[in-house]
Point group: C2
DNA sequence: CTGTCAATTGAAATCGGTTTCACAATATTG
DNA sequence: CAATATTGTGAAACCGATTTCAATTGACAG
């Protein structure tokens, strides 16, 4: 039913080996033979079956990117970066969502074992250090956006600590000294690193750290609301809030407005990520921009470099951020 | 280097055929042989190479979903629906972004020809009717969210016309009679159908259609701003605006606020989709909810049904919507 | 004790490609 | 002109699984 390389060979009057050589430019073929083959291919509408090819070559030129959720627009630019880098290097990127489930993640990683894909990139993972290290010793994998403490594998992130440090320094420069932070209690190194940056900025400016100025929830929208309620319930509420993500920042802003505050005047709010939302929001949300496109490009380039050189590098690359000033942060009065 | 079925067979003291039978439960195997095989599999850490299996079976149990852009959170729930339905039926969903490029789309669809995937779902496409029909006659494909006029293939969408009709009827019920619409000039049947709904609702209520009350741009955020400027420049500006998407609605709202309008009082704005943003925005945006999860489930279930029955149905399924009332729409005064 | 049948089993074919290897034909060199 | 190198080619092995087919075994009926 389906036209195979054999049919092409027969139609062109050559052997399958010659057809394969034409297909892959892998060896010299006489001009006349090549022409016959190309004509036959065109006439029969042949396209090679990748399963056969890949089975023999033991490679698929596909990289699987596993994202925790497709709900986050944040991943969008990263994926675009990945796709562009991959396509330049002859690879395709396929995506799948783990919904932050360890089981789904493992099922997807099975595609590595099954040789359906050549490598995998995890944008956030539920797996532990040991599992990751084992995986990394057998396959090509990389982490992107979220590092895992102690795991020795290729990891590309933004400079989380630096970004938070500069964001909080910016708030301080704007005159704020009572600065709250909305973080998470989930097991996430980016949260942890951003908290570190927050603390360092306070410390460097002689502002004592206060445990009640830090609210820990999840990444869910609702936790911005809760954080705001928590802060405003304090005897001495903060005048500025640094949030671990733009979603949480937007949530804090929304709650503040609905409580009658003027955001950027009565209270300042700073986010992290610079997703589309923070630009679209009213007021625009001051935030720390991640170099998403570059993060995506970098992780794919490094990974393919590893594949091509049979290396298993454990580089940890952190890329530079940029503070984006909008209306949600104002001078302290 | 890699452990294959042969290694397992040798270790278990049986033939590869028997190992295969154990692996697939495809035929009776004696209890002792099965045990030997299972022990060998465990001991060697064997997992079958899908390329070999799939080559022989001519199937991969993978469905490719091609989305125009990963930027739209809108697709998120649809994809979750797809994944759940697929996993229940023994399939996996892989995603890829076409970035609305015809060429990328075709390159991805090559995975169908190459037998890397069993079927493809297009969430919006740049392909024309003929290409789609040709494709559909050779492979299992489906459209999701965006129908293509004249193309005869499995298509699952929300009831676009009905949703728009009811949304505009809602605005009319709130007392509005000067109702603008933000649509697109791009080749999109969902835009077209929603425009039809808008016109029908006007007609049914004896409100004459005015060409200057319809603004056509793209899906880009910026076009909400431009639409608002256009409407407010009219001698008789609308008191309510129905937008083809929540992104555009948010953009109109943002611009209106920055111009000093009170949204929900001075002007009402209604969106379409019910993405997370419309809930997070201040004010919350009234919108038409799409049954995203069900759309995803349905298209996958129908597609797999087709695969299993060797059918090539050309059903066009449109699922029910729901009006979500929030603060961005108020009574006309 | 022989014949029949069902349950197990392995050898070999198969899926659709790529690659090795041997060989013939031609080109180059001293 | 002989010796050697280069080019072009097809037969066959191979990748790792599934599946067909025929053979072996043991149980059971007559």
């Amino acid at each position: 039913m389906n036209v195979t390389i054999k049919d092409v060979a027969k139609a062109a009057g050559v052997s399958v080996a010659t057809v394969s050589r034409v297909l892959n430019n892998s060896a010299a073929v006489s001009a006349s033979a090549a022409e016959n083959v190309n004509n036959a291919i065109k006439k029969l509408g042949y396209s090679p079956n990748f399963l056969g090819r890949n089975l023999r070559k033991c490679e698929t030129n596909i990289i699987l990117a596993i994202i925790p959720s497709t709900e986050q627009t944040f991943y969008s630019e990263i994926i675009r970066g990945m796709q562009n880098a991959a396509s330049e290097l002859g690879y395709d990127i396929l995506l799948s969502a783990s919904n932050s489930s360890r089981d789904v993640e493992m099922r997807l990683l099975n595609m590595l074992f099954n040789r359906i894909v050549d490598a995998a990139i995890l944008l956030g993972t539920q797996l532990d250090v040991k599992t990751l290290d084992d995986l990394n010793s057998q396959h090509y994998i990389a982490l992107c956006c979220e590092r895992v403490e102690g795991a020795e594998l290729l990891t590309v992130t933004v400079d989380d600590e630096g970004g938070a440090f500069d964001a909080v320094k910016h708030l301080i420069k704007m005159g704020h000294r009572k600065i709250g932070m909305v973080s998470t209690s989930v097991n996430s190194m980016s949260s942890h690193d951003r908290e570190q940056g927050y603390r360092k900025a306070l410390e460097e400016n002689g502002i004592p750290f206060r445990e009640d100025y830090i609210y820990r929830g999840t990444y869910d929208f609702i936790h911005g609301v809760k954080a705001f309620e928590h802060f405003m319930g304090l005897p001495e509420p903060p005048s500025a809030v640094f949030c671990i993500s733009d979603i949480l920042a937007a949530s804090v802003v929304k709650k503040a407005i609905s409580e009658g505050y003027s955001v950027g005047k009565d209270i300042s709010v700073c986010g992290f990520d610079n997703i589309l939302l923070s630009h679209m929001y009213t007021p625009g949300i001051t935030t720390v921009e991640q170099p998403c496109y570059d993060i995506g490009r970098t992780v794919v380039e490094e990974l393919i470099h590893n594949i091509n050189h049979g290396e298993r590098s454990n580089k940890a690359i952190s890329l530079p951020y940029k503070i984006i000033e909008r209306e949600s942060v104002g001078r302290y009065k």
